[in-house]
Structure formats: structure tokens, C-alpha cells
């Protein structure tokens, strides 16, 4: 099989590192070679963060080549749109539409680019909603990233059992139940009602 390339974009503090870790561990459980990336440091204070996971038979570089992204997981709309240049026409875009405004728009120096982001979605097969709100209804808004994983899981050669076992082993014990619900919501329910 070809290497699967997953790109993640978000804001410091949104749980991007844990999300990346969970995807890696699920891929390993399924027997794939893999490499991931994530940028932390200065960026963890509300700045932009991004990560990538590549898995397949043999993965050399952790970096996704320009234009080779298969899945864009946006933990925040602007941070999904930012990586457009790494996508191609077949990329699948899955985004939590809950906006986190960056300093330039908080200070009214520029407008948050809501319209450009809408245009960006339209160019791809996309799954977009306020997943923070959906997760809140399921029990905890912090489980939003698991909904994104659930939607992506529909397309990946990794079994539901593997995903659930990986989630169970890597989220805090008291958050297991809401994460299972969030995964199921993404995998079975979102956009299918």
C-alpha cells in the first residue's frame, strides 16, 4: 500500500500532541511502520501548532512531501486552511469549525478569514462542524479531537477495535467513556443522520 499521510493543524493547548500520539499507536498496533512530527515549544502558548503522521510498509521521513497529504485534521479552521499548499485535490479535510481567533484578529488588525476558509472547504471532500459543541453534548468538549479521528477512521485500514483499544490506553481513565462515544459519533453518526 502507499504511505498514508495525515496532517494535523491546531492551536497550542488543543491536544494536538496527544491526538498525534494516538494515531501513531493505532497504526503501530495494526502492524505498520510509521513516523510522526509535532512542533512544540514557543508554540504551546496559544500559537500555531502542527503535526503529521505517516504510516505504511516503510516510512523514511516524518515530513509529508508537498501535495501528498491524504487527510487534513483541523483542530481549528484557520490552522487547517494554513496548510492548503500541502494538500491535493483528493485530500479529505476534517475540521472542528470552532474558531479560536489569533492576536491580529483579536486586535482588529485583520478580519478572521471566515469566507476564505469556507472556500477552502469547498475545494475538498470535507467534514466540518463545531465538534467542540458535539463533544460537549456527549459529555466533555475536550473529546472533540476524537470525533475527528472517528471520521477519519472511516477511510483508514485500521480496525475499529484497534482505535478503541488505543484510545482506552491513552486517554485519562475518567475520560474513556466520553472518548468512546466521541469516536462512535465520528465513525457512525456524523453526517449520516
Amino acid at each position: 500500500m502507499d504511505t498514508v499521510n495525515i496532517l494535523l493543524g491546531g492551536v497550542g493547548g488543543q491536544g494536538l500532541v496527544l491526538t498525534t500520539d494516538i494515531i501513531c499507536k493505532a497504526a503501530l498496533k495494526e502492524g505498520y511502520d510509521l513516523k510522526s512530527n509535532d512542533v512544540i515549544g514557543l508554540a504551546q502558548r496559544g500559537g500555531m501548532v502542527w503535526g503529521s503522521v505517516r504510516f505504511g510498509e516503510k516510512v523514511h521521513s516524518p515530513n509529508i512531501p508537498v501535495g501528498k497529504t491524504d487527510f487534513m485534521l483541523g483542530l481549528e479552521p484557520l490552522e487547517a486552511q494554513r496548510w492548503k499548499h500541502l494538500l491535493n485535490e483528493k485530500s479529505i479535510v476534517i475540521v472542528n469549525s470552532k474558531e479560536v481567533h489569533p492576536t491580529p484578529s483579536l486586535l482588529e488588525k485583520v478580519e478572521y478569514p471566515t469566507d476564505q476558509i469556507k472556500e477552502f472547504y469547498e475545494s475538498y471532500e470535507h467534514y466540518v462542524s463545531d465538534f467542540s459543541n458535539d463533544a460537549k453534548k456527549l459529555g466533555n468538549r475536550k473529546a472533540a479531537n476524537t470525533i475527528l479521528i472517528g471520521i477519519m477512521a472511516r477511510f483508514l485500514p485500521i480496525s475499529v477495535e484497534t482505535w478503541k483499544k488505543t484510545l482506552e490506553e491513552n486517554v485519562p481513565p475518567k475520560a474513556i467513556e466520553v472518548n468512546m462515544k466521541a469516536f462512535d459519533f465520528g465513525y457512525n453518526q456524523f453526517g449520516k443522520e
Binding site: 497550542g12 503501530l28 516524518p62 501535495g67
Partner: protein, 620 residues
């Protein structure tokens, strides 16, 4: 976790696991990106003594002590940390190593989270150490173990040099068992351990001999791998992650991958120069490998095709190989990102630095900054940090500027800001030095941002954390400390009492003499504020944007239904209830949820929170 299991680890976790499997017993560090996670992971192994020391110099010395006592010891730090530790390092490396010793240095090509881009392979060579460079997490683990074996076999300290990308990248790792190593103990031997002349005269030769012997190892060691491709006249010499990025291209060249980048086997390089017409070196930052090869009298090329700064990814490697004439066409694309709205880091919701810099901005003071979250005060909207150099530098710089200003008749008041972590790291000598040739005509105000943690790197303890968190054992009281030094005019403020804090800063910056203001509120990430969130009443809000200018993540202007002008708003999911916005609001439009509006008048003490209301996160 049991041995021989395959798991996913980051490079940092790989180093930690390698130290464990190698039978390591003493590990010390000072937190700094990209290597923070190494010591945090080592802390999980109960067999090991580990500590975040007060500075990299102390951490290195703790590891030296462990090695002197004959046990395997490691100091881990970010690249600039090695500068702090360079004094003991440069002398220690002369000694004949007893217990295995590894200095783990985390370089940051591209400066994702660092103030400079120095290439510590240069420092490793300068200190006469052997240098291993891992390219993934498996190698991070394996090379750390190998480094200890080499250190003990050749009696020299080893450097493991890892880059930020490898530190944070996750790759599969096969775990092994821990192998206990018998402690050798310390035997009195002044020629070996007391570094004064004439002991050091002979040691210069010993250091050279150790490196020469290591060159023999470099020839046969499995650390260095030659992958030969048929029909090519070119060999690429490379190491670390660059090797993996190169492999992504499946290039038509042979590859000599160095696991040990210093020293390099001259015998092997001479063989390569006989068998290949062209030697191309691909390495990030400085031409270290390239210069080593050139010193052998062998011609090679590198930095004329590959950048001296930033990371070398697959695309830039391919571009360089095309320039070098090794491959004909580009297969990868270079599409660069379109211009989009930037997202600079900012103070968290509830951050205690926010009111301090809002006040300093309003008072229009010259601020000499330092290293920590508060470095971000240089960004809009505060722009209240006029210089940032290195840990603890603000003390000396502020004093020097003041003395210079005084000589040319400039009496501008200066404000210096420093965090508690940075103060204990390398600020203390600077604080003492202020007493020397003190001139009460100078107007200097030092603000100590005592947030009880090393916040920027994820909330590691400082020497003042024990005053707040039960699990931390150092309880240095900064006020007592400064007074014991002989400083007068030491004040404490609660910066969540905005007006009182502003008054103290205004008074102290308006009068001559040296004063110290300790801002006592702890980090909002580590010590959660237990208060109601705030909301804006749009019918009262006059749209003045005083709250907006505090640049708090949940606060922005919004269009409300049936109200023409934009009014402020607060995202309740992000607000933590620090009350600073309510206190800068001139019309009391910002109020705490669930309380009668009459209770929300600004500037009163009721916004102050008792310390027992603040709970460490990990007690939840």
C-alpha cells in the same frame, strides 16, 4: 513496560529508555525545548536518581559527580544550556572518565523554540568528546546505550547530539531489558581528578590519544553504515534525520551514514575517495563533517549546495542534489504556503504576566526583558520587552545601560523583568552585583515574576515552587533572599489587584534608587483559578477596547443583535475568571457570572483571591 515489546516513542523518550536500559543511575537536566521530555520520562524509572537542577551547569556537575562515583550518569539540556555548562564541561572532559558519562545536547535547526541556532557538534569536538547523532527514536535509544559503552571502554565523556525534529518525532522502538552496571566507586587519585597544572599537561595528550583510538572504532563500528549502490560515482556522507529525508528520494548514490560524526575514520574516507569520484556531504547547520573530511586532505562538497541555516527537508535536499549535478530533475514540489493570518503565541487566559505588561505599556517604560513566557511581551499589543538575550542577562544589561546612560547625562528610568525560574538559574549573581558601585541617583526597578514554575517548558518546578505545591521541596522566599543580600525597597504585589499593582510600579519607577517588586500570582496553567467566568454586558460596554488591549484569548469585539456598534465579548469556554479585563473596564461592563452586577465594581480587593483557592492541577 516489558522488554522486546515494540512501541512508539518520541526521540526524547527513546533517549530516556536508552539511559534506563544502559543501567543509568544519575540523570540531571534543566528544562529547555527540545529536550524537556527526556528527564520527565526518566522520572518514571524508580531505579534512577533524577532531578531538574537549578541550571544546566548544576545539572552537568551532578552528572559529573555520578560519573566520579563510578555510575553511569547523564546530563540532558538544550543547545544553549551547554553554554551555561561549558565551564565545568571543558575541564571535566580532560579527566579519565570513571562511570560512563553522556552529555545529551538538543540542537534546534530552524529555531522552532530557541534564541539562536548554534551547532553543538562544534562544542563536542572543542571539548574532545566523541559525538553520536541519532536519526529516529530507535537510534536515540540504541545510541544512548552505545555512548555509555564507548564512554567506559575509552574512558572519555560522550556527547549525544539530537535535533529538535528527532526529539519530537515518534517512531517504532523495540524495547530491551535494563542491564545493571556495577558501580566502580571513587578512588582518590589527584592526578586524575584534580585539574591543575601539571596534572593537566599530560591530559592534553591523553585526550588526543582517546580520540585517535576512537577513530579506529569509527572505521569498523556498526554506528557508521555504508550503503553502496551500483553504477554510481557519487557517495553522500550524512547523518541523523537528514539520512531519512534523503532516503525518501531513493537517490542514485551510495550513502555513508555516520552514527558517530566525531571523530570520523580517515581510513574509511580515504577508501571512499578512491572508490568514488564525488563526495557530497549533507548536514544541517555548520559544515562539521565537511570540514573534517577536508582536513584529511580529501576534497568534498556540501555547504555550497545545502543551506547553513534551518532544517534540511526532502525538498531542499533534492534541490541541492540537482545543483550538485547528482540528479537531473526535481520530483518533489516546493509550493510555499499562501499568505494567511499569523498566529503568534500569546499569554494564556488568566496569565499573571498580562496585568504587569499592560501596566508597563501604559506607563511607557523602557523594559529590559529576559527568557521565559514573559519574552512574549515583545509582541503586539504590549511591545513591552525591549531586549531579550539569554537567561538572567537582564540584571547585568540593565545595570550596564544605566551606568552608560549616567555617564552621558541620560537619567531614563529602566525596568527589568525576570521570572523566578530564570532568577534561580542565573540571575542571582546579577542581583548581588547590583550592590557594587550602587548609585541611588539611578532609577532602576526590577520586577520578579514569581509564578512558581518554569512555565514556558511545561511547568517544571523552580526553587520557589515549594511555597505552593506540596510535591515540590524547595521553598526559597525571594523577598527574604533579596533582603539577605542587602537590598532594601523590596515589595510584593498581587497583580490581580490591578490598581494597587499599578500604583506600586508607578511609584517605584518614578523615584530614583533601586527597587524590587515581586509579583506573586502563580502560573494560570499550573495553578488553576477557581472563579466564575466573566461576561460583557453589551448595553453598558462603550467599545473603548481597554479589555481588548490586554490581549486575552477569549476577548474580542463582536456584533450583537440590535446593537449597531461592535461591543466586547468573552468566550465562556476559554475564560478562567482572573478579573483583569473587568478591572481595566472604565464602565463596569464586565461582570462575573452568577453575581449581582453591584458586586463587580473594579479595582476593589474582592478580586483578590486567597492563596488557598489556587490548587495545583495535579491535585485535582
Amino acid at each position: 513496560m516489558s522488554s522486546r515489546e515494540k512501541t512508539v516513542l518520541t526521540g526524547n523518550q527513546g533517549v530516556a529508555r536508552g539511559f534506563y536500559e544502559a543501567g543509568g543511575l544519575v540523570a540531571a537536566s534543566y528544562p529547555g525545548s527540545p529536550t524537556v521530555e527526556i528527564l520527565e520520562s526518566i522520572k518514571e524509572y524508580k531505579e534512577i536518581y533524577s532531578e531538574f537542577s537549578t541550571s544546566e551547569k548544576v545539572a552537568l556537575e551532578v552528572a559529573i559527580g555520578g560519573s566520579f562515583a563510578g555510575v553511569r550518569s547523564m546530563a540532558s539540556m538544550k543547545h544553549v544550556g551547554v553554554n551555561i555548562a561549558a565551564d565545568p564541561l571543558m575541564t571535566f572532559t580532560q579527566t579519565k572518565t570513571n562511570g560512563g558519562f553522556v552529555l545529551l545536547s538538543g540542537d534546534d535547526p530552524g529555531m522552532a523554540s530557541s534564541q539562536n541556532e548554534q551547532d553543538n557538534r562544534v562544542l563536542g569536538k572543542f571539548a574532545n568528546m566523541g559525538i553520536l547523532v541519532p536519526g529516529d527514536s530507535q537510534e536515540a535509544k540504541d545510541f544512548t546505550k552505545t555512548a555509555f559503552d564507548i564512554s567506559e571502554q575509552y574512558h572519555l565523556p560522550m556527547m549525544v547530539n539530537i535535533t529538535s525534529r528527532v526529539c519530537h518525532s515518534r517512531t517504532p522502538v523495540v524495547l530491551g531489558d535494563r542491564k545493571e552496571v556495577n558501580a566502580k566507586g571513587f578512588e582518590k587519585d589527584v592526578e586524575r581528578y584534580c585539574m591543575i597544572p601539571p596534572h593537566t599537561h599530560k591530559l592534553q595528550h591523553d585526550m588526543k590519544n582517546r580520540i585517535d583510538k576512537l577513530k579506529e572504532l569509527a572505521y569498523e563500528s556498526e554506528l557508521n553504515v555504508l550503503e553502496e549502490k551500483e553504477g554510481t560515482d557519487t557517495v553522500v556522507v550524512t547523518s541523523g534525520l537528514v539520512y531519512h529525508n534523503l532516503k525518501e528520494l531513493n537517490p542514485p548514490v551510495s550513502i555513508y551514514k555516520l552514527g558517530m560524526v566525531y571523530p570520523i575514520s580517515q581510513k574509511r574516507i580515504l577508501e571512499l575517495s578512491k572508490n568514488y569520484k564525488k563526495i557530497i556531504v549533507i548536514e544541517e547547520l555548520m559544515p562539521v563533517i565537511e570540514n573534517e573530511i577536508k582536513l584529511m586532505g580529501v576534497s568534498c562538497e556540501g555547504k555550497n549546495y545545502f543551506s547553513f541555516t534551518g532544517e534540511l527537508n526532502t525538498e531542499t535536499i533534492e534541490e541541492g542534489l540537482v545543483k550538485a549535478g547528482v540528479i537531473e530533475d526535481r520530483k518533489t514540489s516546493d509550493k510555499s504556503p499562501e499568505e494567511s493570518v499569523k498566529r503568534p503565541p500569546l499569554f494564556c487566559a488568566g496569565c499573571p504576566h498580562r496585568p504587569i505588561f499592560d501596566i508597563l505599556k501604559k506607563l511607557r517604560k523602557r523594559v529590559i526583558g529576559d527568557i521565559g513566557c514573559y519574552s512574549m511581551a515583545m509582541f503586539e499589543p504590549f511591545q513591552a520587552s525591549d531586549s531579550i538575550i539569554s537567561m538572567g542577562a537582564t540584571l547585568g544589561i540593565t545595570k550596564g545601560m544605566s551606568k552608560a546612560n549616567g555617564l552621558v547625562g541620560n537619567s531614563e528610568p529602566l525596568v527589568s523583568v525576570i521570572g523566578d525560574g530564570t532568577m534561580f538559574h542565573s540571575g542571582l549573581p546579577g542581583f548581588v552585583n547590583l550592590l557594587h558601585q550602587k548609585n541611588d541617583a539611578e532609577n532602576l526597578t526590577f520586577i520578579i515574576l514569581d509564578n512558581r514554575t518554569t512555565a514556558m517548558t511545561g511547568g517544571q518546578p523552580t526553587a520557589a515552587s515549594g511555597n505552593y505545591a506540596k510535591e515540590d521541596d524547595m521553598k526559597v522566599d525571594i523577598k527574604t533572599l533579596l533582603r539577605a543580600m542587602g537590598h532594601e525597597n523590596v515589595y510584593e504585589v498581587d497583580q490581580f489587584d490591578y490598581e494597587a499593582t499599578k500604583e506600586t510600579i508607578r511609584t517605584e519607577t518614578n523615584r530614583s534608587g533601586i527597587s524590587f517588586i515581586i509579583a506573586k500570582r502563580p502560573c494560570a496553567l499550573k495553578f488553576k483559578i477557581q472563579e466564575n467566568t466573566f461576561y460583557v454586558n453589551p448595553n453598558i460596554c462603550i467599545g473603548c477596547r481597554n479589555c481588548i488591549k490586554t490581549n486575552c484569548p477569549p476577548i474580542r469585539m463582536k456584533k450583537y443583535k440590535n446593537i449597531e456598534k461592535l461591543k466586547s465579548s468573552i468566550d465562556p469556554d476559554m475564560c478562567v475568571g482572573c478579573s483583569v479585563c473587568a478591572q481595566v473596564c472604565p464602565v463596569d461592563a464586565i461582570q462575573p457570572k452568577g453575581q449581582h452586577p453591584d458586586h463587580s465594581k473594579k479595582g476593589s480587593a474582592k478580586y483578590k483571591r486567597q492563596e488557598h483557592d489556587m490548587l495545583p492541577l495535579n491535585n485535582e
